[in-house]
Symmetry: C2
Subunit: 454 residues, 2 copies
C-alpha cells in the first residue's frame, strides 16, 4: 500500500511521512510569504521575515507559540492565513498520521503488500479516499457545532458579525489544539481564554473540543462504531484510559499546588477553582490555550505542566508530545520490571516487544533533543532555566503554552524554536514509520556480553 | 552463594543489598548521634539533630552536600566522625557492590547455586574474604599516596601537623568522591578546591584519584591484571571508553560555555582554563569537589552539570548516578534503533536483552524520582527551579556539588534531600540485584496487541 513505487519523478518516490514533511514545508514557506506581505500587518508594513516564518510554522504545526499578538498585530487577511494554515495543517496531519497508523496496525508483510498492490490497488485507493472523507466530515461537524455555540456565547459581548467570526476562528483553533486567539483585539482583555476562567459555557464547549482534537481520529471512529460493535480496540482503550488518568491527576495536582496562590486560584470560588484546574489540565498537554496566565503559576505547577506537555496527546491527533500511548508503555515497562514480569500487559493484551523498544527509544530521543535545545538556549537567551525548558518543551510537543520567552527570543532562538516545532510535529510520525527494527534474524549476531549497570 | 539461607534470626535472612542498607542505616544513625554531641560542634552546643542526620547521611553515602561548613562548624572530633563515615561508607559500598556485580556476571543458575552452597561454601567464603582484602588494600595504597602528596603540597602553606591532617582528610574525601573539605578553617579561603583552580600540583593529584575512585574496583583490578592477561573485560572497556568520552566532551563543553565568563574562566590563562574545565568535567559526575564556584557558572553550564551528575560514575565505585554503563546502553539503544539494528553491540559483544531492559527501566525510575522530588521541592522551597533540579540530582546521584539550596533548606526539604541521598546510594545496587525479570517462560502469556505510539 505504501511501498515506494519506483518512478522517474522523485516526488512520487517519497513515502508518506516524506510527503507530509514536504507538504508542511511548502505550507510554511507559502504562509510565511503571505504573512510578510504588508496587507497582513495592521501596521501596514511588512513584518520581519523571521516573525512571519515563526508564525506560519507555529500555525501549520498547530503549536500556538507566537512572537506577535494575532488579534492586534494581524489584519483580518493575516488572521485568515493563520487559521487557514491551522485548519490545513491540523486536518492534513491527522489524516496522514491516521493512514500510517492503520497500515501499521494491519502489519502486512512484504509479500502481502506486493499482492495487494497487484490486485487491490484500486480498492486501496478507494479506501484511502473514504478514510480522508470520513476524517474531514467528523472534523467539520465538530468544528461547526463549536463555531455556532461559541458565536452564541460571544454575541453577548460583541456585534453579531464579529461574534460569528470569533466563533469560527476559535472553534478551529480549539479543535485543532492550535492555541491561537484573537482576544487581544478587545480593549483591555487578557490574552487566550483568561477572561473566561470561570465561565461554565466557554469551559464546557472548549474542554470536550480540545479532548476530541487530542484523542485522534482512530479513537473517535472507534467510539462512533461502539454502539454497533460493542467493543473498543486496544489502542482506543489505552488512549481513553491514559488520557482520563492524566486529566484527573493533572487537575488534582494543579488544584492543590495553586489553591492558595492569590494570582491564580485563590480568588475564585470552588466551581471556578475546579473549572480552572480541569481546563488547565486538559489544555496543557496539547491545546496551548489557558484560562490562567502561565507566568502567574507557582514554579512547581509550571514544571508539572512541562511534564504534561512532554507526554502530550494521542497519536494521529491534533496534539503532540511523545503521546499518551508511549507514556503508557513507559509506565508499563517500569511496573513490569518492578514486578519481575516479562510482558507489559494492557487489557489482557501484551504489548509487542518491538513496540516497547520503539516507545522507549523515541522518548529518549525526544528527551535528548529537548535537553540539548534547552542547554543551547540557556547559553543564547537571557531567561530563567525553567522558562527556557518550558518553551522548548512547548515547541517540541507543539503544545503552545508560554512562560513568556517566545516574545523576547533572539533571532537565533527564534530559529531554534521554529525548528523544534517542525521536528516535534513531524518527527514522531516519521520515526514511527521508519524506525522499524529488522526483526528478521540478522545473518550474523555477536556473542552476548555482560556489563554491570546498577 | 547469595541465596538467602532460611534462618531463625531474621538478620541472617537478608540478601546483600538489604545487609548494605541495614548497615548504612546503622552507620547514619550512629554518626548522627555522634555529630549531635556538643563535642562535635565548635560552638560547644549540640547542633540541631536534623543537621547531624543530614551530615551523617551525606558522609556515609559519600555525597558531599552539606548544611554546615566542616572546616568551621565542626571540631576535630566532628571532622573525624565525618571522614570516618566517608571511609567506611565508601569502601564498604565498593566492596559489597563489587561482590554483587561479580556474582551477576557469573550468572549462576539456581541449581548451580545449590551445588555451590553444598560443596564450595568454604572456598566461596574464602573468595569473598580475599576480594574484600584486595579492595581494602588497593584503596589504602591509593589513599596513602594521595595523603602524602597532598600533605607535601599543603606544607607549603600551613604548619606541618595541619598539613598532614589536611592531606589525609582530603585524600580520603577525594578518593571516595565524597566532596567534603576543611578549607573553611583557613581565614579568607574560598570553599572546596577553588583556591587551587590553576595549581597544577593539586589538580594532577586530585584528578587521577577522583577517576580511580569513580571507575570501580572491577575495572581497577582488570587494569592491574592487564600486563599479565593482555586483555580487558567487556565491562572494563565500556567503563573506560565511556568515562573518557564523558571527560573529554565535558571539558570541551565547559571550556566553550565559560570561556568568556568573567566570574570563572575568563581571568585564567590558557593552562588555567584547561585545568579548570577538565577538573570540573571529571569532578562533576561524582566527586562533588569544585575549583570554580557553581553559582558563578552560566545557566547552560549548570544544566550541563546536572546531566553529567545524572550519568554519574561506574558501578561498584565511590560515585553514583545511573552509571556510565547504563548511559552507554541508552545511547546504544538509540543508535541501534536509528540504524534499524536488533542488537546493541559494544566491542563485538551484543548486550543481553534483559540488561538493556533493566538499564532503561532503572534510568526511567531514577528520572521519575528526581522529577517528583524537584516538583515537590519547587512547592516547598523558595529557590530557582534550576537550583532545585541541581540539588535533587546532586543528592540522588550522590554527586555533592551545590548551587546553594542545601544551605537554606526548610526542614522538610532537608528530609527530602537526606532521603534522596540514601535512595540514590543504595537504590541502584538493590535494583540491579532484585529487578531480574523471570526470563523463564511464564506459564500463560496474553496474546500480543498493537497500539500506535508515534
Ligand atoms: K498546540
Ligand atoms: K560525591
Amino acid at each position: 500500500m505504501f511501498k515506494p513505487v519506483r518512478s522517474r519523478n522523485p516526488l512520487l518516490r517519497l513515502n508518506p511521512p516524506q510527503v507530509l514533511a514536504f507538504g508542511f514545508l511548502i505550507m510554511i514557506l507559502t504562509g510565511s510569504g503571505l504573512l510578510s506581505l504588508p496587507a497582513a500587518s495592521t501596521s501596514g508594513q511588512s513584518m520581519p521575515y523571521l516573525d512571519a516564518l515563526f508564525t506560519a510554522a507555529s500555525a501549520t504545526c498547530v503549536t500556538g507559540l507566537s512572537v506577535l499578538n494575532p488579534g492586534v498585530d494581524l489584519t483580518k487577511f493575516g488572521q485568515l492565513v493563520v487559521i487557514g494554515l491551522v485548519q490545513i495543517g491540523g486536518l492534513g496531519f491527522m489524516t496522514v498520521a491516521t493512514l500510517i497508523a492503520l497500515v501499521f496496525r494491519r502489519r502486512i508483510t512484504f509479500r502481502e503488500r506486493l499482492i495487494l498492490q497487484e490486485t487491490m490497488s484500486q480498492s486501496s485507493t478507494e479506501g484511502i479516499i473514504r478514510l480522508i472523507r470520513k476524517v474531514l466530515l467528523y472534523a467539520l461537524v465538530i468544528e461547526s457545532i463549536g463555531a455556532i455555540l461559541l458565536s452564541i456565547r460571544f454575541a453577548f459581548e460583541m456585534p453579531l458579525g464579529q461574534a460569528a467570526y470569533f466563533g469560527a476562528f476559535h472553534s478551529i483553533s480549539i479543535f485543532n489544539n492550535a492555541g491561537f486567539d484573537l482576544f487581544g483585539a478587545i480593549e483591555g482583555r487578557a490574552g487566550s481564554l483568561i477572561h473566561y476562567v470561570d465561565d461554565p459555557f466557554v469551559n464546557l464547549i472548549a474542554m470536550p473540543m480540545i479532548m476530541l482534537g487530542g484523542i485522534g481520529f482512530i479513537v473517535i471512529a472507534d467510539l462512533l462504531d461502539y454502539r454497533r460493535k460493542r467493543k473498543l480496540s486496544l489502542h482506543s482503550k489505552v488512549v481513553l484510559w491514559m488520557s482520563s488518568i492524566l486529566v484527573v491527576i493533572g487537575a488534582i495536582v494543579i488544584f492543590i499546588f495553586e489553591f492558595t496562590n492569590p494570582a491564580t486560584l485563590q480568588p475564585l470560588d470552588f466551581s471556578g477553582k475546579t473549572f480552572a484546574s480541569v481546563f488547565q489540565s486538559i489544555s496543557a498537554r496539547s491545546a496551548g490555550l489557558v484560562t490562567i496566565e502561565v507566568t502567574d503559576l507557582r514554579q512547581a505547577t509550571q514544571f508539572f505542566i512541562v511534564i504534561l506537555m512532554f507526554i502530550g496527546a494521542a497519536p494521529g491527533s491534533a496534539g503532540g508530545g511523545i503521546k499518551v500511548t508511549t507514556f503508557a508503555i513507559l509506565i508499563g515497562a517500569v511496573l513490569a520490571m518492578i514486578r519481575g514480569k516479562q510482558d507489559i500487559v494492557f487489557f489482557h493484551y501484551r504489548i509487542a516487544q518491538d513496540r516497547v523498544y520503539k516507545a522507549i527509544t523515541f522518548s529518549l530521543l525526544s528527551f535528548l533533543l529537548i535537553l540539548v535545545a534547552a542547554m543551547v538556549l540557556s547559553a543564547t537567551e537571557d531567561y530563567s532555566f525553567l522558562g527556557i525548558l518550558f518553551e522548548t518543551t512547548s515547541a517540541y510537543a507543539t503544545a503552545g503554552a508560554s512562560m513568556g520567552l517566545t516574545s523576547q527570543l533572539t533571532p537565533f532562538g527564534q530559529v531554534v524554536i521554529t525548528a523544534l516545532m517542525f521536528i516535534g510535529r513531524l518527527g514522531p510520525v516519521t520515526l514511527a514509520f521508519t524506525l522499524t527494527p529488522r526483526m528478521d534474524k540478522e545473518p550474523f549476531r555477536y556473542p552476548e556480553g555482560k556489563i554491570t549497570i546498577g
